[in-house]
């Protein structure tokens, strides 16, 4: 999704209601978020948002010059740095070693990679946001949306299981190191 980020608009300050809505949607999607709400959004923080010209309804949110999350239509998806800080925020799915290389270059997670040896498939519903881990690696390397529920994947392991939205080394990731 973030192959090129050349057309970022200028930052605009998020209004109070905007921040409230963000927190609400965070709370409804991720039940763990309540415990870390004050750490992620400090009370006197400077919260800005960037709009993307090429993608429809995509906004990137920045708190005190740290990229926190981005919104896609109704979904709120945390930045990978936030997931590294609070690993319990998302459901974890592990892929085998062979798949790591392809995910880091931006491909979707295919179903056989979630079922073979060395990988774990935790229960998740269709449309849920999950973090993707690699075998033998401690930190998350990607964030995606489940294309089918975990039971469906177990029944017939074929096709794209997780649609990748954000991964290590993509242009959104590189933005946070400039």
């Amino acid at each position: 999704m973030f192959k090129k980020l050349e057309d970022l608009s200028k930052p605009t300050l998020l209004s109070k209601t905007g921040v409230k809505e963000l927190k609400q949607s965070f709370n409804t999607q991720y039940p763990f978020f309540k415990e870390i709400e004050d750490e992620v959004f400090p009370k006197k923080a400077n919260i800005q948002s960037f709009k993307l010209r090429s993608e429809y309804k995509v906004e990137i949110v920045q708190v005190d010059k740290d990229y926190i999350c981005f919104t896609k239509e109704d979904l709120v998806i945390p930045h990978l740095k936030l997931v590294h800080k609070f690993p319990d925020l998302l459901i974890k799915q592990q892929v085998d070693t062979g798949a790591i290389k392809h995910i880091l270059s931006g491909s979707d997670v295919l179903a056989p990679g979630l079922i073979s040896q060395g990988s774990t498939l935790n229960p998740a519903e269709k449309g849920q946001v999950v973090a993707i881990y690699g075998e033998g690696k401690e930190n998350a390397m990607g964030i995606g949306i489940m294309n089918a529920s975990s039971e469906q994947i177990k029944e017939d392991p074929k096709g794209h299981a997780i649609q990748l939205l954000h991964h290590l080394g993509d242009s959104l990731w590189q933005l946070s190191f400039k």
Partner: protein, 219 residues
């Protein structure tokens, strides 16, 4: 009245603070106890940490240290890790350490031989040529916002490289499909924000201009 009000506030404030302090101290004590309990159990991965976890990122490839082997230049990352975090390096690359120790042993022997040779012969110094870009060679790209979402990019400095501006203008407007004109100062003005595309395209089209000579100024 005012005095009494003040008194009330004065009395209230320290009490709140005291309560906070006490609660904080209690929390800290609890935390310390927990940490003491945790320390022997650190090896168990099942324990969930609620506090923000710090992750070390490689300065060269910006990935977490574990993923350095998937980056474009893994050897540079290795060297960086070796200089900054030696403990992690030993954990992540245990095989390399052995190899390097052997190598170092061999290197020391070689160095001893070389030193002996140096004593006999004065060394020849090699100087690397560093290309410094002077201001007379610079090509500037400026981006100016015209309306809310409209931009103008101005390209200046092409004439220093002996290029015909009119030809360049036509080429650029054909390549990117945009309107263009020549300024009073002899700079090319283009419709739209083309800074990134121009930065890639110019060194390919005109090999005499290198990437170091291009500077982007956004307003």
């Amino acid at each position: 009245m005012s005095d009494s009000d003040d008194d009330i506030f004065k009395k209230k404030k320290p009490s709140k603070k005291k309560i906070e302090q006490q609660s904080k101290q209690q929390q800290q004590q609890q935390l310390q106890q927990q940490q003491k309990q945790l320390k022997p159990e650190l090896n168990q991965p099942d324990q969930q940490l609620k506090h923000p976890k710090s992750v070390i990122y490689c300065k060269i490839c910006t990935l977490p240290v574990e993923f350095c082997s998937f980056s474009k230049a893994p050897q540079e990352c290795k060297e960086w890790l070796k200089t900054s975090y030696k403990d992690l390096y030993a954990i992540l690359y245990p095989e390399d350490l052995k190899l390097e120790q052997e190598k170092q042993g061999a290197l020391q022997q070689q160095q001893q031989i070389v030193q002996q040779q140096i004593l006999e012969q004065p060394p020849e110094k090699k100087k690397k040529k560093k290309v410094k870009v002077t201001e007379s060679e610079m090509v500037y790209i400026k981006v100016k916002e015209r309306n809310r979402n409209k931009f103008i990019t101005t390209l200046s400095g092409l004439e220093k490289h002996g290029l015909d501006i009119k030809e360049a203008q036509k080429k650029i407007s054909k390549k990117f499909g945009c309107g263009s004109s020549i300024n009073e100062k002899g700079a090319i003005e283009l419709q739209g924000d083309l800074s990134v595309e121009l930065e890639e395209w110019i060194p390919k089209e005109y090999p005499s201009i290198k990437e170091d000579m291009i500077a982007i100024q956004e307003k």
